[in-house]
């Protein structure tokens, strides 16, 4: 017997919360990137689970999750490029210390 839908939704919500907490509290730029990745994967769990339980005859949610995976890869590549640029110039990737712009 398969697990009921709420199990997946709670897993998705917990993963999203862990990712959001990590993205907001970590100061290492690479860890923040990993946390964002966790948030996007929580979305994928939601999409696939909803698809399986609500509209099993269509693939809408699964196709959406493939798009999310693709765009997440592009986003991670761009994010790492920006972090690399900062690391080359400043020798550190602590995002709390990169704060010279202020009013």
């Amino acid at each position: 017997m398969p697990l009921p839908l709420p199990y997946f939704l709670v897993l998705g919500a917990l993963m999203f919360a862990v990712g959001a907490w990590g993205a907001l509290s970590r100061s290492n730029a690479v860890r923040v990137l990993m946390s964002i990745e966790l948030m996007l994967n929580a979305v994928n769990i939601n999409l696939v689970a909803f698809n399986r339980y609500l509209t099993p005859s269509e693939l809408t949610g699964q196709i959406f999750s493939i798009f999310v995976i693709t765009i997440a890869a592009a986003e991670a590549a761009l994010g790492l490029a920006i972090v690399l640029m900062i690391a080359r110039r400043r020798g550190a990737i602590d995002i709390n210390k990169i704060n010279t712009l202020r009013g």
Binding site: V43, E75, I82, I86, L101
Partner: protein, 478 residues
């Protein structure tokens, strides 16, 4: 095959933009240091061609390309505004790009890709198109903010914009996944009926909608999702700042209108209150903070936050009047704000700084630029005979018609507050002597053209009644 050809015609303008962007990227690598002029010309031609090819798009086409996009009056109007805006950014920014050695191919390629993403958001018929368009716009914008590789401020702007933006996209996406779960559909047309019929707990719907508003509020720079704006606007290369202030905001507004007014119209009485509060807080916070700024780009950043608040008034009205008032204001704001940024870029490229004192005696150094900036600021305030006046009048009218008198009054009060910081710049331009170290400002041909176009449009939109009827045709009602 022929049917598919007709369907592809709907996204012809975006295909032109993407093709021009990719050619620009490759061509610039061949031309190397001589690239700045020709590639800017190519990008301008691409934007102009995209604008013209909107005429070929069959109006009133329902969802095509497997339900991904639709060409109604609304999408045509918003895309026309976005592409005309891109054209002004290319013309106005060409001098800056050459002077500060922004990588030419990358800049124009990313700009055209970003604006194509905005175009897809405006014509999205389902949540997937809408998300992909948003990410195309966002990823290109993050990269553009960091294009001045040797400038630490630009690096920092890219970093801040990327991390804030990536988190907010994830939040938006989580909201979209719940909307899908509550309705079982991604199509905007089926969203409203499915939500009205769904027996799900209202709290779940409120959660999903709040997450979506948070994600799009970030793109639109609405308070409290605006924290990135001043830093990114200050650090990014100025043509990029100009683009962000209209392209990103306009596309996000179009997406919000589509998602809420078109998709969830039947539930309007449940979500308008959020937008009324968001609009009120955004315009007030933006205007009051702008009073405190000494850097012109930060000031324009807060000013653009306030303008986002005005645009949201149309959404808060939750009526057809509100929708066309919002897109009409977007038209007025696009040309006005891009004109102001073109003048700022010209002053900066001439060797001036970005603090407000750099504008001292501009009336003597360049009477044309000072006069143009005065008109743009008057329009941003909402002075009669400029575009901003009719824009604000329509928004206030829409708010009153929907019973939001307090919001209408607050909009008017905010226009008065905004006089304070615009006047500071005008006083510097006209009443202060130019300092000995400030250079005379001469204007390049392309920047002169951009300023003239923005100036003519700002005055024409404020005087000719045709623009209002075009905006009214951009209604979202079927």
């Amino acid at each position: 095959m022929n049917a598919l050809g007709n369907e592809l015609l709907v996204i012809l303008p975006e295909m032109v933009l993407v093709a021009a962007g990719l050619v620009a990227l490759v061509w610039a690598q061949f031309l190397k240091e001589r690239a700045a002029g020709p590639v800017a010309g190519l990008a301008a031609a691409g934007a102009a061609l995209a604008l013209l090819s909107l005429l070929l798009v069959p109006d009133g086409t329902g969802p095509v390309l497997f339900g991904a996009v639709k060409a109604d009056g609304f999408s045509l109007f918003v895309r026309a505004v976005l592409y005309a805006g891109a054209l002004v950014v290319v013309l106005g920014g060409a001098g800056y790009v050459r002077k500060f050695q922004v990588p030419v191919g990358e800049f124009y390629c990313l700009l055209l890709l970003a604006i194509a993403g905005g175009g897809f958001m405006a014509q999205a018929a389902n949540l997937l198109t809408f998300y992909v368009g948003l990410e195309l716009l966002s990823l290109a914008s993050y990269a553009m903010a960091g294009l001045r590789l040797d400038d630490p401020d630009s690096n920092e702007a890219a970093l801040k914009y990327f991390f804030n933006g990536a988190v907010s996209s994830a939040v938006l996406l989580f909201g979209l996944s719940w909307l899908f779960g509550l309705t079982g559909t991604l199509s905007l047309a089926e969203l409203g009926p499915a939500l009205a019929a769904s027996g799900a707990h209202p709290a779940l719907l409120v959660m999903a909608v709040t997450l979506v508003i948070g994600g799009l509020g970030f793109k639109m720079a609405a308070v409290p999702f605006h924290l990135w704006v001043p830093d990114v606007y200050q650090g990014a290369p100025t043509p990029v700042t100009a683009f962000l202030s209209v392209g990103s905001k306009g596309a996000a507004l179009a997406a919000l209108l589509r998602l809420f007014y078109e998709g969830m119209g039947p539930l309007a009485d449940r979500w308008t209150v959020y937008f009324a509060i968001l609009a009120a807080v955004t315009m007030t916070w933006g205007n009051v903070s702008a009073l405190l700024q000494r850097n012109i780009k930060r000031m324009m950043g807060y000013s653009s936050i306030a303008q986002a608040g005005y645009l949201l008034v149309g959404l808060a009205a939750g009526s057809d009047h509100g929708v066309w008032a919002a897109v009409f204001y977007l038209l007025a704001y696009t040309f006005t704000n891009l004109g102001a940024f073109t003048v700022i870029m010209a002053v900066r490229s001439a060797g001036g700084g970005l603090d407000l004192d750099s504008f001292s005696g501009l009336a003597r150094r360049s009477p044309f630029l000072a006069g143009a900036l005065l008109v743009f600021f008057l329009s941003l305030i909402g002075f009669p005979f400029t575009a901003g006046f009719f824009g604000k009048l329509n928004l206030i009218g829409a708010a009153v018609n929907s019973g939001l008198v307090w919001l209408a009054v607050l909009t008017a009060i905010n226009s008065v507050i905004s006089v304070g910081y615009y006047y500071g710049v005008v006083r510097n331009m006209y009443l202060r002597e130019p300092g000995a170290d400030l250079p005379a400002v001469s204007l390049e041909g392309s920047a002169r053209l951009a300023t003239a176009v923005a100036l003519v449009m700002t005055l024409a939109v404020g005087i000719l009644p045709q623009f209002v009827s075009w905006a009214q045709a951009a209604s979202l009602l079927p």
